[in-house]
């Protein structure tokens, strides 16, 4: 997005909220406009809007994944295909490369993000139920990375090769623990086990939800805590904290 001033209707459109919501946020201080006097029109700086979106990226991603209606997310979060995702991984690498605190697990962290994102594209290619592509955002200051898709979810994907699976919780358990070899005709299927192995030895936490099941993986610990989610989502949601 170029750095310029947007009218309130343009800003509302960019953020995906109503004009009344923006007026309310201006008045209560959640997102101040650039208006000088009460009689002036409200304007918003594009950089300010981008920063506002990034600071709310977790809430936006969760809302996007849970919504019954599939709509493309804002451009700054949207990876329409794997090449866009790959380009943004390079941006993430650049953003993280100056952080000395994570030097020891820098490559592992990005490879985990790459595996989760690549999983979304690989398992849904040609079969996306509504929105094609993934939501991908990060907030380096808050040390958080978020990925989401509105794909088929882990249960439906794994049931093709393991028909005895009963529900989302069982599918998550299998996806993060079992080596599934010979998954003809495709050879994929071990990305999430890699994710677990990395988190088990590094200062990284993961929340992962698919359908009606969610799990938490706590840093330096291989134990999976799987439970039923309060609110189901369409595909997969991953929140990584480091």
């Amino acid at each position: 997005m170029r750095n310029n001033k947007l009218k309130i209707n343009e800003a509302a459109n960019y953020l995906g909220v109503s004009i009344d919501t923006l007026r309310r946020w201006d008045e209560n201080g959640k997102l101040k406009s650039l208006r000088v006097g009460q009689r002036e029109h409200r304007y918003y700086d594009s950089t300010q809007l981008e920063e506002f979106l990034l600071s709310s990226c977790v809430d936006i991603a969760i809302k996007w994944a849970r919504s019954s209606i599939g709509e493309k997310p804002s451009d700054i979060f949207y990876c329409s295909d794997s090449s866009v995702f790959q380009g943004r991984l390079y941006k993430l690498r650049k953003a993280l490369s100056e952080n000395k605190e994570i030097e020891s697990f820098f490559s592992l962290l990005i490879s985990v993000v790459g595996e989760i994102g690549d999983n979304s594209f690989g398992h849904n290619l040609g079969n996306w139920p509504d929105v094609i592509g993934i939501f991908f955002a990060y907030d380096i200051k808050k040390k958080i990375i978020i990925l989401a898709d509105r794909g088929q979810g882990v249960f439906k994907t794994l049931k093709r090769v393991k028909p005895e699976l009963k529900d989302d919780a069982e599918a998550l358990e299998v996806a993060f623990t079992e080596i599934l070899s010979g998954r003809a005709p495709e050879s994929r299927g071990n990305g999430l086990k890699y994710v677990r192995a990395i988190i088990g030895k590094n200062p990284v936490n993961l929340f992962f939800q698919s359908g009606e099941a969610e799990l938490n993986l706590i840093q330096n610990n291989l134990v999976l805590k799987i439970k039923k989610s309060k609110k189901p989502i369409r595909g997969c949601l991953a929140i990584i904290k480091f």
Binding site: R93, S107, L108
Partner: protein, 96 residues
């Protein structure tokens, strides 16, 4: 012969790109002898993942067996990915 993995990029995490990398590289093996060893050099790689590795390294292992030699790497994601591939595919790479 030596395969410099950095020539495929600095971040190698996509399964699809791993598949394309293999397809692009295969003609290089047309004229090698049956005894020649194939060394894989990971120097200057930033990020590596099992998905890319499965399409490239596993395929080369199946083609060349012990003639495929992975050079030791200091990159944590390369080493973790190689370990995962060995476990998932029940095989052991020649590393030196």
């Amino acid at each position: 012969m030596v395969i410099d993995i950095k020539k495929f990029g600095a971040i190698l995490t996509s399964r699809q790109l791993g598949k394309e990398a293999l397809a692009a590289y295969l003609p290089n093996f047309n004229n090698i002898s049956e005894e020649e060893k194939i060394y894989v050099n990971f120097d200057e790689i930033d990020v590596f993942s099992p998905s890319w590795g499965d399409e490239f390294l596993t395929a080369l292992y199946r083609k060349f067996g012990d003639r495929l030699i992975l050079k030791k790497s200091v990159n944590a994601s390369v080493n973790a990915s190689v370990e995962m591939l060995e476990e998932a595919n029940n095989m052991k790479f020649n590393i030196e």
